[in-house]
Amino acid sequence: MTTQTHPLNKHGRPLAGHVRPTGVNRWQRRFPLLPALIFTVVVTQLPFAATLVISTFRWNILRPGDRHFTGLSNYAFVFTDERLRNAVVNTVVLTVSVVVLSVVLGLGLALLLDRRFPGRGLARTLLIAPFLVMPVAAALLWKHAIYNPDYGLLNGTLNAVYRLFGADNGPTVDWVSSFPMSALVVALVWQWTPFMMLILLAGLQAQPGDVLEAAKVDGASAPQTFRHITLPHLRQYIELGIVLGSIFVVQTFDAVYTITQGGPGSQTTNLPYEIYLTMFRKFEYGQAAAAGVVVVIGSIVIATFALRVVASLFREEASR
């Protein structure tokens, strides 16, 4: 009967491989996987189940006695709330700007570092430093040491340049208040460009040398070679950079918390920060949970697309 009734795996799908090992052998193979699988299911899926339950409650911890089932009213709130819609827009703006800019800058740097020049190794080492600085430290650095209107590096340098040309004083720009979203984007692009550069540089160096050689022999110009050989080859690396970058940048919390606190007003409040505010400032647990569920569903939609990109890279490797 074992060939007829397949045992079920964690997702309730039958495990039917091309080769069907005997039952004992199958469990022997699965055994090393189980601790990791069980841990992941317990720590990542159970909280989600809890979120689902909480999202159907009217639950504000400032009113302890008043915790009751309200059906989908939290979702009605989430979908009509002006602040949340605003947070969605801010999240999209922030993520797209940061990912696009850091891919473009990272590509430029990778193209330069793919060539030989004096001190290339050192340049590469210095360039990855922004990615290695602790994100909270980087955010504080940008806010206080660079953007600070009185003695930040930016205004200080402007001031020095103005004085150099005989003017009394440079302008005093309050960068974070005047350009809150751009201030965030610049700080984040600074952190993520090295990441993109590393992936794209690895892509460039994985280019088969003989193809480039052949293009050269055939008299292709540098822009032609780039357009028709390098760029198509880099495509999967660019996609990988975009996917991985988006996963991390969508979740940006440190920089918003530190640099703008979501302000002025709610101009830079992204979804993670809005959910945080709902939880720890408004104490509306039910609403925060509903927002969380919506965010997870949104992520699943984006992730199915993103996973396809990773899967295409993965298939290539797995097929060898």
């Binding site: 699965r30 720590v43 001031n159 004085r163 992936i199 440190d254 969380g292």
Partner: protein, 296 residues
């Protein structure tokens, strides 16, 4: 272009890598002096904030907060002495504990899992891989509320072990993917030959798998360590006085003491130092880790 030099559409990434033109070889074209200048200008522009942070950390407060900036003020270890002499140490210890223990726990779970995904793969192992990866797509913020409620219920708020468990789940998918990509490099023929010769599992693991897996293990630990060390969102919301980690110290430092720019820079440098050193030392491994083992 002739047919032989055109890469076949079906060429795998592995084949490409075998034919790869190494970045450091002599065939890489040179940059012209103009572009070399551009490259260095860009590099210095990116590095400037880090350099500024380190430089300011060696200044006195009065020299740090000047406009225009004082580049050539006298250097001093004063800020570091102040920080280490006072309150940053417990935070660094908490960070170290959370990062090291979660990294060890990740390895204990991920290495056997990777074995069951590559060397002796379970059926449908790609599905398992993508299940792991899909958990990485779930935003951490969505887990904050239920985790907070549960952790509070069981009295584990402000406890380093709470962070250790959370960081383990955060890094486990990355580690499973990375370790699988390393273990997949163990030559199948040698494994089979060893089995035919009657080598037991310990021998196979020790003699054949371990030598190939060791660099992978190092790279995986590095990545897990970096992500745990830098984590802020859970740390700031789930800890208070006893279990707070270094990033929480940095933020609290500003609100509690007002702005001391030089000391802030010293603290920022200090907490970034472990990751900077580890990252610089393992540059070549970094990209493979960050791309989940997909890019070598």
């Amino acid at each position: 272009m002739t047919a032989t030099t055109t890469p076949a559409a079906s060429e795998t990434l592995m084949q490409k890598l075998i034919r790869r033109r190494h970045g450091d070889d002599e065939q890489a074209p040179r940059l012209s002096p103009l572009w070399t200048f551009v490259a260095w200008l860009a590099t210095l522009a990116f590095f400037a904030p880090v350099a500024w942070m380190v430089l300011t950390s060696f200044h006195q407060e009065s020299d740090a907060a000047t406009n225009p900036p004082s580049l050539f003020a006298p250097l001093t270890f004063h800020q570091y002495a102040l920080l280490l002499g006072r309150d940053i140490t417990p935070y660094l210890l908490n960070s170290a504990m959370a990062s090291v223990f979660s990294t060890l726990l990740v390895l204990v779970l991920a290495v056997p899992a990777a074995y069951a995904l590559s060397i002796k793969p379970v059926e449908k192992w790609t599905d398992v891989m993508f299940f792991f990866l899909s958990t990485k797509f779930l935003p951490l913020i969505a887990a904050l509320l239920p985790v907070y409620v549960i952790v509070k219920d069981v009295g584990m708020l402000d406890n380093v072990w709470t962070l250790i468990v959370l960081y383990t789940s955060m890094n486990l998918p990355i580690a499973a993917w990375m370790m699988r990509s390393f273990l997949a490099e163990v030559p199948k023929e040698i494994l089979e030959a060893a089995e035919v010769d009657g080598a037991g599992l310990p021998t196979v693991l020790l003699r054949i798998v371990a030598p190939v897996a060791m660099p992978g293990l190092a790279a995986t630990s590095l990545i897990c360590f970096i992500f745990s060390w830098n984590e802020f969102m859970f740390a700031v919301n789930l800890t208070a006085t006893r279990a707070s980690t270094a990033p929480v110290f940095l933020v609290g430092f500003i609100t509690n003491e007002g702005l001391f720019l030089a000391r802030l820079c010293a603290a920022a440098t200090l907490v970034s130092l472990p990751v900077l050193i580890a990252g610089f030392a393992a540059q070549d491994k970094l990209v493979r880790g960050l791309s989940l083992g997909a890019v070598k």
